[in-house]
């Protein structure tokens, strides 16, 4: 089976979620896959270590337009005879994968959290994290988009040949006027973050977020918040995790002053480990927690920051 993986790039680099998608593609392809990326990327060859035997780079494409990129992926799939196309279910992947599936008359499973079975049944999240669905692709061509942080990127030490894309896929009808970085501190975007520190109404006001940010900075974690806090404007909307916000699957989710309503849990229960800090011992979040601290976030968070710094200094 020939597998093609779309590797998204930003600011001249193939991004983190693309390495995971290539690892996934190589597993599905029985050890190797072909990758396609675009723009002025400097690290395309690094995909070789994650299982790409060949990387095709479309240098003339600068922007992430879904029409242009889907035409590119479908064209490369045709050239290479690939019948299985892998994306990361990230910002760009979500916009392109359905277009590519449509072009190739392929079934698409989006948000895959595991590898396909022999008959191409794939486990994916559903009901905003409250359940999983096992979905079978019944077409000859297949598209899978993999939820970030679900299988992980695996460095297997191979290498790839890098070639330039030769075809023409037209020009974007969408003009990018401005690109603003959301995380001005350079932290990892929430859907890709491995460590997340989150807080809710228990913090009592936006002026108190310093203790949340201190812990996040110490750990190299990304900050998040509950819906009420985003709705009243204490924190920006893009930090809202939950059923109607961002769904995340970090290795560690630390929640302070969040009671754990079912809608919030839906967005975070893919986390590997959950730590809950709340003054209310009856808070429903403790039922979903691996570690619980019944205590005041205003005392516990600074103490945790100090404990983490001490651990970091001696490890």
């Amino acid at each position: 089976m020939s597998v093609l993986v779309f590797a998204d790039a930003k600011n001249g680099k193939v991004i983190k979620s693309a390495f995971e998608a290539v690892s996934y593609g190589a597993k599905v392809g029985g050890g190797s896959c072909i990758a396609v990326t675009y723009g002025d990327v400097s690290n395309a060859d690094e995909l070789g270590a994650y299982g790409a035997s060949e990387v095709v780079v479309a240098k003339s494409i600068a922007d992430n337009d879904s029409q242009v990129l889907s035409a590119l992926v479908a064209d490369v799939a045709g050239q290479k005879g690939a019948n299985t196309i892998i994306f990361s279910q990230d910002f760009t992947g979500k916009a392109i994968a359905p277009r590519v599936a449509t072009k190739l008359s392929a079934g698409l499973v989006s948000g895959a959290v595991d590898y396909p079975t022999a008959d191409f049944t794939i486990k994916k999240t559903a009901f905003s994290g409250k359940a999983f669905a096992n979905v079978k692709i019944t077409t000859d061509n297949r598209v899978i988009s993999v939820l970030p942080n679900s299988v992980g990127a695996e460095n297997t030490g191979g290498s790839a040949t890098v070639s330039d894309y030769a075809g023409d896929v037209g020009v974007s009808k969408v003009k990018i006027i401005e690109s603003k970085s959301a995380a001005s501190d350079g932290s990892v975007p929430l859907p890709e973050a491995e460590l997340v520190v989150s807080a809710g109404r228990g913090l009592k006001g936006p002026e108190n977020w310093g203790i949340v940010e201190d812990l996040a900075n110490a750990m190299g974690a990304t900050t998040a918040c509950s819906r009420p806090v985003a709705d009243i404007g204490w924190r920006p909307h893009h930090e809202h995790v939950g059923q109607t916000g961002v769904a995340i699957r970090p290795n560690l989710y630390i929640a302070a002053g969040i009671s754990g309503a079912i809608q919030h849990l839906a967005g975070v229960n893919g986390s590997k480990v959950i730590v809950v800090i709340n003054t209310d011992a009856e808070a429903p979040f403790f039922k979903a927690a691996d570690y619980g601290i019944v205590g005041d976030a205003f005392e516990v968070l600074p103490r945790l920051t100090e404990a983490y710094k001490k651990f970091k200094a001696s490890n």
Partner: protein, 246 residues
Amino acid sequence: MKFLVCISKVPDTTSKIAFTDGDTKFDENGIQFIVNPYDEWYALVRALELKESLGGSVTIITVGGQADEPVMRKALAIGADEAVRIDAEAKDPGYIATQIASYAKDKDFDIVFCGKETIMYNNAQVPAAVAEYLDVPFISLATKLDLNGNTATIERDAQGGVEVVELQTPFVLSAAKGMAEQRIPNMKGIMAARTKPLNVVPAFDAAETTQVVSYETPSGKAECKYIDPENMDELVSLLHNQAKVI
């Protein structure tokens, strides 16, 4: 301006999710259905705001059976002018997108609005697939939309931040939080919705491309381990040695 807003019927956000028939079917018993929040709060309301300031019409469309009509009336009560129900089982995202695009292709809609994904299947496939069938641009995860003639300026969530983009109609967009504020229908709207047109259109030919084989609910967590709030060194040590996440 002619706007089309795609809506889906989904279980209320507070629903406990369960399955029947050997975990192959969603258990609808006791479930309250609502308009998918992204479709209603953001896509529909922004389309209505633009219609109110620029003139034009807002049509809502869904693919489903008669059981979908109550949520369609809700969308009409919020202010949509007319509703279209394509009388077909909502089989898979590709099938649904084909139905919507087949209906929309000769209707000259300026903008097709969708929510970013449903809270039921979280596929986020229909908006981009509709755009592909219609051969128009697609803007995902839009949080702000302004129109000046046929030129749209849109803010959207993108890799690593926010992008401001500009393009000409027609196009498809998927709406995310920030686009508009939820509207509660008033009595006048609810009364008016009863007599607004709800057109039922027969299904178009389309192939099925995926099948849900079964569902699973996440395995229950082990008991929460409580830690003394005075002893954060213990937590750090457990996270490192036991959970191995730091």
